[in-house]
Structure formats: C-alpha cells, structure tokens
Symmetry: C2
C-alpha cells in the first residue's frame, strides 16, 4: 500500500511509535517483503518486525545511529551503536557473534572526536565480548551529515541456553515460537522490566538543550547480553525486547498487538529514578514513553517469574529489575493501574517525546 | 597510532584511495582490532581489509551509501546499495544469503521518492535472489542528511563451488588462502576484468553536474553473484574484488601490496566504452581511477585464464570480460604498458577523482 498523497515525511515517522509503525508496515515491509521466496530458509522474517531476523540459523539485525549530541552523560554514539545492536540480538535469544561498523563522516570532523568514538566502541565491544569484524567508511561534504552517522549491524547464533529456557517454559504452558518473539506472550505471563526507565532520553535531551540534569542523570547505555543470559539460565522466558524509541509504552503495545493479549501494568512497580521523575514532571513528559538503551523487558511464564527476577537482580545491569505487570485476557490493549488507584489506557505513543536519542 | 594533530577529515579520506587506506589502517583498525580474542573464530578478520569478513563460517559485510544524486542514469541509491553488498559478499567466494536495510531519512522526503528507492531495492534483490530480512529506519531534521543514507549489510555462506574452484587452482600451484582474498595473488597469475570501466562514475558525475553524458553513459550497477558463480564453476580463481572507489588503479595496488607481487597491465586490453573515454579526456580524469558498481576483477592461475574468461563472457554481466594483465615478480607495484608502447607506474590514487559515487 502506498503512502502517496499523504505529504512528506515528518520527524514522527522515525520516533518509534504508531506513525513509524504505520510507515514501516504500510510502505517499507510490503515493498521489501519476501515471504514467498523458497530460499533462503527464514525463521524470523522482515514481516515479524522483531528485534532481529533469523535466516538459515543466523540471527541478523541492523541499526543506524544519529543521536544528537554525539557525546552525552554516560555514553556517546560509539557505545550506543555497539550496545544497541548487541541488545537487539540478545533479546530474541541469540548469542551475539560479531558486529559491522559503517561510518558516514562529515568533512571537517576532528580526528580526536573520531578516535574518542572508536575507543568507546572498542570498550563496549570488550565489555560485551563481541568484536567488530568488518566496516565501511564514507566521508561527505560539510553540511551533508552532522559530524557522524554510525550503522552497526550484528550477527549471532542461537543461544545454547535458549532450548533449556523454552523447555522450562513449556513445563507450564504451550509455547509456539522458537525464539523470544514479540508474539509469544500469553495471558498469565509475568512482565519483568530489568531496571529504571527514562535515564537515556533525559540524559541526551538535557545535554542537547543545556538543561543541566546531566550531573545527576546519566544514560543507561549498556550491552545486555550477559544479563539476558542470566535470565535464560533461570528459565521460562518466552518474550524479550528492549524499550528503545517510544519506551515501555511502545514496547507493551507492540507486544499486546502481536501477541493478541491485553497487558496490565502497575505504575507504582515501574522503577523510575527520582531525577528522571522530576525532569519528566518539569518537561511534561511521560517516563514510560522515553527510549532507553540499557534495559530489557521479559515476558515470563508466571511460575518462573520469581526465579527470573532473582537471576536478573544478581547482574549489574539488572540489579533494579522489577515485576511490573502481567498479560491478561481481562483487558484490551495496555492498561495502567495508577499509583492513586485509578486505571488508564497506556496508549502507543505517536512517537518518542524526545527525538534523535539513538 | 593516532592521527591527532594532522588536521580534520577531508573528502579524500573517504574516496577509496591512499588517504582513506591510511586513515583506516592507522586509526580505525588499530582501535577496533580484536585479532587476539580467542572467540569467536574469525577466518577473515577486520585487519585483512578485504571485501567481507568471515566469522564462524558466516561471511559478513557492510556498506553505507551516500551517492549524490540519489537517482542517476542506470540506477539509484536503492539498486546501488543492494548490488554493492551482494558484490562484496560474492567476490570473496560467498553465496549471499540475506541483507539488512538501515535507512536514515531526512524530514520532508517525499514518500514517492522513498517508495521508488525501495522498489528499486526490491527489484535488485529479486534479480540477485537475495532478500532483505531486517531493517531500521531513522528520520532526522531537514539539513541533517541529504534526503537519504542507506546502509546495507549482508551475510552469506561459503559458496558450494569454492572448494572445487580452489582445488582446480591447486592443481597448478599452491594456494594459501581458503577464500578469494586480496593476498592470494602470485607471480604468473592472470588478471581478468569482467567488463568496461568508468561507466558508473561518469554517469553519476554527469547527472550531478548536468554534463549531459547521461544519454549515452549509464551506470553499470548490477549484482554480480551469478557472474562470480560462473567464474567459480570454470575453476582456478584465487582472488576476487570489485573495483569501486578508486577504480581499477586502487584495486590493483591493493592486490600488489597485500599479495607482495608486482602486476603488469596492458592498457589497450582494459575495456573502456567510447563515451566514457571521451568524457574522461574532456574532464582530464583517468578511467582506471573511477569507481564501478557492476564489475569484478579476478586473479586466476594462468592455466585456467582462458576457461574463466570464456565462462564470464557467457554471462550477461561479464560479456565484455577481458584478460588485462598478469602478476609478475619482474616489476614492483603496478605497471601499465601503454597503448603507445611506453610504460608507466599506475599509482594508487590519493582518492577517487569523482566523489560520492556510492
């Protein structure tokens, strides 16, 4: 289906919410889809719009990074690009194997800045244990990009822990998918969030606009492959996803839609750091709609929820993990039980309230 | 080694020649290198600076595309991005399996233009038989990029024809590498070029500057996986590479350096279409330094040169293939035997004379 006659692209088409989903679902996927090809054997196709694809047993994902500013409290475009791609591989149940690095550099960029970004990438690679093995470098005239665009694509193998993890889930209920897909959630499953939300978006926005929150709020950017491994070891995880653009609100709505189940979330259970809460109140932004770069959300069969939660809390990246809600057939979409005893629909945001955070 | 104190980046650092090679070799690779990691098992590492890496049996490559203008005679940024990545996989001896598509779109881009690019990608995917399976889409403000940047990364498997091809080569001489690497060339090997050079660069430049050559000169952009397959079937190919930025001159200098052998090329044997030759004379550009997007160069053990040449000429993309020279210990670097009976060193260009062609 074409979007012709609907005017040109706007920023909201890239902000990770409903508008982006519509453009991707109505235009990009129909044109590029290849579901009917007999080869190669695609286990998780483009159409699934999940964090990674799976082709012939290889897990494969890509992310282009345009964050502004390129250096922000707690990270930079280098650490972000490595962590983002490692996380997209990890949350579907893969063991990340290697990354590519495609650089588009603006003429006039200082070598010192480029080197700082590369060293940050290298340090994050080392932390994750995942190397950059191939790359490409383009230089464009002044004004053609803003300093730098970094694409990182990644490949991975099925985690050796995934089969046992799913077997543990299947002791309690049927699980259709063979990976940790968005469509695997079923009523009764627990929703576990690995830590506080909003830090990344507020840290980037604060640096960009000079708000000064940066002294207390740092981006959460981190590779999560070790943390996901801990969750898989505990067993019973059926879905995994990282709440980037559009934040937790976008993630849960995607899950509800793809899994055809309602989700109830206890607002008071969602960890939000005090500084982020204050900043959000001042700025009139919902922390649940802000993108994160070091968090994951897991759908877990309820019998294993406590075990997964304990396992996550023993990791550095998951020490603030919390059980925030459950899938349920008793509501449609995503419903928030507010801290003051009310209920409200947690809508899919049209887009992330903070643009260009990744 | 740092490049600090050497001033900021210039366009030539991205133009595929000596300056780019220096930046990548002195800064990017040393910082990102991981040669000493024990896992994963890397068969062709970042440091090889070849067209693709090989990790745990998976062939992996990436390319970010910033060509200007985005539509040009014979192709566009969509067909270019698919063909470029398919070719980088193919020329090392891989069967391309799947691609990723990372889009960075400028606010205000018309949906019609985006759709035209996507349809061009899809058509090139179909021609190559290689699907896009995963993607990412970012939208940035007006002025932050020029309409669109497309990254395509690709994965592939070892071609089932590669072992027999290398076995055929080994009937005639020892071959060290297990892939079609830049470092595999040895004195005596034939150098075969799959067709005429210069079309792509001149077509793009002509469109960009309004020179009007576009009526007769079209880009050669094409996926070459079928053509490479034909060469492998003939047997005896030891090296493969596509002459993109910096053209044939850059490619041959890279081979000579990595393979530690001289190369002699007969200028009169290098196919150049009349229109390109005329345009190059008018513009004062050497067609051998211009980037191509539908050509490959093969190093072939001399006993198999005729067979490979015949096989290439039977394919659509290789119908103008020519034996253009040979590796030899009798010269240093790359020496051109000119059409007027002279000899000149074919230097590695500092950069492609035509910027932003891919």
């Amino acid at each position: 289906m074409s979007q012709e006659g609907k005017g040109p692209l706007t920023m909201s088409h890239g902000a990770g919410g409903a508008n982006m989903q519509k453009m991707i679902g109505d235009l990009i996927v129909p044109v590029l889809s290849n579901r009917r090809w007999r080869r190669p054997v695609i286990q998780v196709p483009l159409d699934a719009l999940d964090d990674s694809a799976v082709v012939d047993g290889i897990v494969f994902t890509t992310d282009s990074h345009t964050v502004r500013p390129i250096f922000f409290p707690g990270g930079d475009i280098g650490s972000l690009s490595v962590a983002g791609t490692v996380n997209d591989l990890s949350v579907v149940g893969a063991e990340p194997l290697a990354l590519s690095c495609g650089l588009v550099l603006e003429e006039g960029l200082a070598f010192e800045e480029l080197e700082r970004i590369l060293r940050s990438m290298a340090a994050t690679c080392k932390r994750a244990g995942v190397p950059v093995v191939t790359g490409d470098t383009k230089v464009v005239e002044r004004g053609a990009v803003q300093k730098i665009v970094v694409n990182t694509s990644g490949i991975g193998r099925r985690s050796p822990l995934l089969d046992r993890n799913l077997k543990e889930a299947r002791r309690h209920r049927k699980v259709g998918g063979n990976w940790l897909l968005d469509s695997n959630l079923r009523p009764g499953d627990a929703i576990i969030l690995s830590g506080a939300v909003g830090d990344h978006g507020i840290a980037v926005l604060s640096q960009r606009e000079g708000y000064g929150f940066g002294s207390v709020i740092k981006s959460d950017v981190a590779p999560l492959n070790m943390m996901v491994e801990a969750a898989l070891k505990a067993g019973g995880v059926v879905s995994g996803k990282d709440p980037t653009r559009g934040g937790l609100a976008n993630l849960l709505n995607e899950w509800a839609e793809k899994s055809k189940t309602g989700i109830v979330v206890e607002e008071g259970s969602v960890p939000v750091h005090d500084g982020v809460r204050t900043a959000c109140e001042m700025l009139g932004i919902d922390p649940l709609s802000i993108g994160n770069e070091g968090k994951a959300v897991f759908g877990v069969v309820r019998e294993r929820a406590e075990a997964v939660l304990r396992a996550l809390r023993r990791t550095k990246e998951g020490r603030e993990a919390a059980l925030i809600g459950e899938a349920t057939a008793s509501v449609k979409g995503v419903v928030l039980h507010t801290t003051v005893g009310g209920r409200r629909i947690l809508e899919q945001p049209a887009g992330d309230p903070i643009p260009r955070i990744c």
